[in-house]
Symmetry: C2
Subunit: 404 residues, 2 copies
């Protein structure tokens, strides 16, 4: 008799964004005449840029011709893409990363869910609270989180690092040590960022304790301030303790195209084994590469023209972020994030819970956001809006919220 | 101090196809003048067909326009694709499969590696020997296979089902019962097929024991004979015990485009939980969907024109299969498969081991095949050739082998 993975029974409710989708669809079914504006799930709305579209068409044509057709991709991803990543995201920033430490994937979400597989199940993880749910849920599925405690809304074997207005949503280094530390800056959901000297302390802490940091850099393209690091490898010693995850979703709008990469340096060695080799084995065995045409699209992002276009996309969304931030402030909301990040994190008014404010916003303004508590108990009383809408919708949404 | 997943230490050597790639690259570096013909890894060589190319271009154009741009895909895959799959691969064959039981993915390899995650780690798996390595390796990584025994070349906690010339490479139902049974017909690597009444016995066995069958149907498009089932759901009771995996790689040449799907019927219920819901949760949490443009390409495969073109591809490769089969037979080889399958499985001559024959073929004929022993100890003394080359290369390879 087959036995199911009982750890799934510890998962709470369904995946946050699926729940939101259901609530919205119930509302629109009941009110088909209402125009809903979605600033909830972090999905982009701008079309792909000219260079990306051209490279896709060109690559599709290659797939139509026997002489240029491409079948299975190389295990780590195509050289042309790993080279472009290495040059632009690392060497240009003075970080030493080798091309065979870069693993092209179909996005930072799968990577952030799968990376825990190369670690033993009795490691203790530390996460920020609030946190992107995939980090915790993927560890729950592997049995690493222990029992869920309904009173606290937390798993008993997870080390939660509170992120609050008091600490600027950047946690202090915990006194209790964890084996695997998940960090994400610019942060999803709070939009908080970390300065290089602060991040250096995390790297030093990890090296002192033999911990590994999973550093989610999916939003680094939104950083404007010079003292905020784009990569954890800007810190010394990070090659010995940090895995970094990247996405093409938020800089280049690839949410529907699916492309990302993980960096696993050869210098992270534990029990005599290089984590880079473990991840290479996992990658080769359980994954089969991103589509050739999508890898070519990724390459285009790093072309001179591509870079200009991507900057245009980021400026577009950051215009929205500023509009949301300033508009809500004027209306009396307490607002965080939105400066080096596409996420605006606001305190719900009138002591409303996050879900109460979600329902209120959906019903009164027909605007969809994300309840902060969906990201953890410290997110209760907060709410996330994203800058990924169109200018028109974003302005209309903010105006509606302000006149509620 | 972080602990690594020690199960990885039980994995044997590196992944079969990576090893082959290394051997071939060493040979070509030393002999750059030699023309290597690759009939090893099961990668296709024909370009994508006209309908698929058109649909890709069209979908790329949609991604360039704000009004038709698509971001994150629905969790299970786009309705248009799941509908086409359901109609053509199931309803047309009289199988009852619902559209919400179909999970679009980036291929049968990731699905076959990931599917074990929804089961407890103390289940016992049964696999054919020889077997596609991913089934075993993904279970080794989860700690389900026990110690590796160098003498037997087998993991101690895996139930191996011998596939030999005596049983036509279709194993008998084992007396010892297993919890998870992996079956693949038409088989990779042996090219063996199973008739419907034989497959029905496996379904009955699984239902009697509460086992689950993972049925890999990646090669079903190559079936010509009417008494060979294309889907396990042609057998009665399969909705209660079988998960089926499909690929667009081998019928439509999507090895470089990446598309597949898994079917997990709602009727497989264990410990009161539907496996369909577990897989949905896994899918939503750790995966983010196949690219929109690739899902549109998949839809095109089911159009009237698309079906004709796909049949053309299959006929092309099956011409190769016949040429390899007949050529090698005439040259005195003992040959299996290649009739309802793109794989030809041959007995190595002169008591050579599989790897000896691999080296012999590489050095004497400059032809790359796959050593049978790479698929399990019962594969020792056998060798796999694939029909996925061009006509010209396949003919030349066979002629070279015959004149060795």
């Amino acid at each position: 008799m087959v036995k199911i993975n009982e750890n799934y029974g510890q998962l709470q409710g369904s995946y946050l964004f699926s729940t939101i989708a259901k609530k919205v669809s119930e509302y629109t079914d009941a009110h088909p005449e209402k125009k809903i504006i979605r600033l909830g799930i972090g999905d982009v709305t701008r079309p792909l840029t000219g260079s990306v579209i051209s490279s896709l068409h060109k690559a599709v044509d290659e797939m139509a011709d026997e002489a240029t057709f491409r079948g299975y991709a190389p295990d780590l991803g195509y050289d042309f893409l790993r080279h472009a990543i290495c040059e632009n995201d690392y060497r240009a920033r003075g970080c030493r990363i080798d091309e065979d430490e870069i693993f092209v994937s179909d996005g930072a979400k799968p990577d952030s869910g799968n990376i825990q597989e190369i670690f033993a199940n009795d490691n203790k993880i530390a996460v920020c609270d609030p946190v992107y749910p995939v980090y915790v849920d993927s560890n729950v599925m592997s049995g690493r989180c222990g029992q869920y405690d309904k009173e606290t809304g937390r798993y008993r074997n997870v080390l939660y690092m509170d992120c609050t207005p008091e600490n600027g949503f950047v946690p202090s280094i915990p006194k209790e040590s964890a084996d695997i530390i998940y960090l994400c800056f610019p942060n999803n959901p709070t939009g908080a960022t970390v300065k290089k000297d602060e991040l250096q302390k995390w790297v030093d802490h990890a090296n002192e304790n033999g911990s590994v940091i999973i550093y989610d850099a999916a939003y680094e393209a939104y950083i404007k301030d010079a003292d905020i690091p784009h990569s954890i490898y800007e810190c010394s010693g990070a090659r010995e303790c940090a895995i970094e995850l990247h996405s093409f979703s938020k800089n280049a709008g690839f949410t529907g195209l699916r492309l990302g990469y993980a960096v696993v340096p050869k210098d992270i060695v534990r029990s005599g084994v290089s984590l880079r080799d473990l991840w290479a084995r996992r990658h080769a065995t359980k994954y089969n590469g991103a589509p050739y045409i999508v890898q070519r699209a990724g390459e285009a992002v790093y072309s001179a023209e591509g870079k200009k276009e991507i900057q245009g996309l980021i400026d577009y969304y950051m215009d929205n972020a500023a509009y949301i931030r300033e508009g809500l402030k004027k209306a009396g909301y307490t607002v965080f994030g939105g400066e080096n990040s596409p996420y605006i994190w606001l305190a719900t008014p009138d002591n409303m819970t996050s879900w109460e404010f979600f329902d209120h916003l959906l019903h009164s303004a027909n605007v969809v956001g994300t309840p902060g508590v969906g990201f953890g108990s410290c997110g209760e009383g907060f709410f996330r809006l994203t800058a990924f809408g169109s200018h028109e919708n974003t302005r209309e949404a903010v105006d509606r919220i302000c006149s509620m």
